[in-house]
């Protein structure tokens, strides 16, 4: 898929591009609004990551322009200006999602994938994890045909790890994904550990779950195969 990254902060744009390339995206960069406007007019993009705080352009005007020229790209707004009005305005003008700086790269990926699934009506396939089956569409986990009783949070946690198969996710990345913008001033929070502990206990009641790994000092990951 083709992605245009519109971001005036060069090193951030480069990091995002390097990450998305490793996820098999084709990336194009625009460091100014004018540059972006020209590229949108010429090329076809599936996704445009748009920083609203451009020095030369009102980011929201870019969306209007693109829509006028018939571009069907999905816009994902990235901004440090997390003010409520911007969010509403952005979504009103046809942006597909919104991400506040600083964000986790894996979170960006999962948002892009979610938009893509919506856009192309891709049905998520079930994922096999040892003796368990993650039925993403119906939001349930089964083990040899028995439903594992998980809370919403536990399921979301597991799902996020499944969608980022073979990647180590830090506690912070997991926390942000599940709890969003609730500020926790205790930076040594053990929220995720407690939930993973409960999750493991429930899983192990049905079958062993060696695929759910703790990466010491870093975080958690689910290994495939």
């Amino acid at each position: 898929m083709n992605v245009l990254i519109v971001e005036d902060e060069h090193s951030l744009a480069n990091e995002i591009a390097s990450f998305l390339k490793s996820e098999n995206f084709l990336c194009d960069l625009a460091f100014t609004g004018r540059e972006a406007s020209e590229k949108i007019a010429v090329n076809l993009y599936d996704f445009i990551l748009l920083d609203l705080g451009l020095p030369d352009y009102n980011g929201l005007d870019l969306i209007k322009e693109a829509r006028k020229s018939g571009s069907e790209a999905s816009f994902l707004i990235i901004t440090a200006r997390g003010a409520v009005e911007d969010k509403v305005k952005g979504l009103d003008l046809g942006a597909d999602d919104y991400l506040a700086k600083p964000f986790a790269l894996v979170e960006l990926l999962s948002r892009i994938n979610a938009v893509a699934r919506r856009k192309f009506s891709i049905k998520s396939r079930d994922v096999e994890l040892g003796e368990f089956v993650m039925e993403i569409q119906s939001r349930r986990l089964t083990c040899r045909g028995n439903v594992v009783d998980l809370t919403k949070k536990e399921f979301d946690l597991l799902l996020y790890l499944v969608l980022n198969l073979d990647k180590v996710l830090t506690r912070q990345q997991l926390y942000e994904h599940i709890w969003g913008n609730i500020l926790d001033d205790q930076y040594d929070s053990n929220f995720i550990d407690v939930h993973i502990k409960n999750l493991r206990r429930k899983l192990n009641n049905h079958a062993p779950s060696p695929w759910l790994e703790t990466v010491r000092g870093v975080g958690y990951k689910i290994t495939s195969g």
Binding site: E9, F19, Q172, D185
Partner: protein, 440 residues
Amino acid sequence: MIRLKTKLALFNLLSKLAFTALFLLVLPVIIERINLRQVDNDLVKKREKTIGLISQYGIEPFINPDSSMSFGSYNILKEEFISFEKTSIPDDLNEIEITSRVIDDEEINYRVLNYTLFVDGQKYLLGIGRSLTSIQQSKRNISSILFVFLGLIILVTFITDLQYTRIILIPLGKITDKLREISSPSKFDKNPVKTNTIDFVSLDNALRSLMDRIGEAFRKEKEITVDISHELLTPISVLRSKLENILLRDDVDPDIAVKVEESLKTLHRLQNLVNSLLMIARIESQQYLREDEFSVSALIEEITDELKPIADDKGVALKWESVNDYIFRFANRPLIFSMFYNVVNNAVKNTQSGGEIIIKCLRSGARYRVVVSDTGYGMDDEQLGHLFSRFKSRKGNGENGTGIGLAIAKSIADFHKIEINVRSAPGSGTEFSFDFPPNS
């Protein structure tokens, strides 16, 4: 402490009383003086009349010149008298004095004019007297009439003074109310108070321009906080992406991965701080909308559901005691969620294993109160004093916190006009109570 209008009225009353008292004290003397002069004039006139009569008819009608008898005549009520007697005093008299005479066992004070005159070579003493009883009587009458009259005047003017000062001080009361009602300088009512008193107009104007300046200074400070926060978030964002990219590499050394994760954690701490400051600045500069309508008890239930696994893991019981519902209008749900979340989360963190946290939603009439109490470590007065200030965390229980959560809770509460009260003592837990504004 005493109100201005009472003070003014009291001063008026006292000064009037003092002047009246002085007047009443001096008045009898003045009346007496005036009356005596009147009497004296009368007596002199009578003397002239008598002298006229004598020169017309001679002395005989009054007194026999040959006898040594004296002549005296009182009118029936003994109000006046006239007397004649021969005298041999060497001096010529023409004087007025007060003497008392006993007539029919009654002592009466007279104002008497003594006058010597020669008739046919004989010296006579003429005495013309006027009783002072009636003068004293009229003095008493006038005094008592004046006393009652002045008393009435004082009473009436006191009441009208009181009313008048009350009326002219109404604008002052309005200005005070305007000041009392506002929670921040920007909320000050810009409409001038209606008054034609120049002093109040200039007070009102001075206050308005002061509020404008303070409001502007506040706004600038908030703007700076918001701007700085934004500026800080971009470098944090760059660093974070770089570190995450390192962590995502397949060939990363496990020891390096741990160090990178530690750096990410520190960066997260910085990010949280900036976001917290940004949030407080935004709340205080009214950048959040207040247009949600929701059930408070349902919201708190969501929070307890979220925190239950953590509390269970720690061995802390989360209990509901009474659940009265309240529909909160014109509020920001995510903010209220944050507020209660921070407080309940704080309670879980500050309660040891085996302790409990009790949540009550109480309702009486239009009043609604949520109480979150724990059986935790509690706080001393010093800790309580800076509980809601930024960056002062509850120390000594092994938690690493920035302590900004409660500062956020407080600014959210202020934003929604919710009153937070905290009661705590070391070792006997902490109780947070939230009094909601009555639904209008």
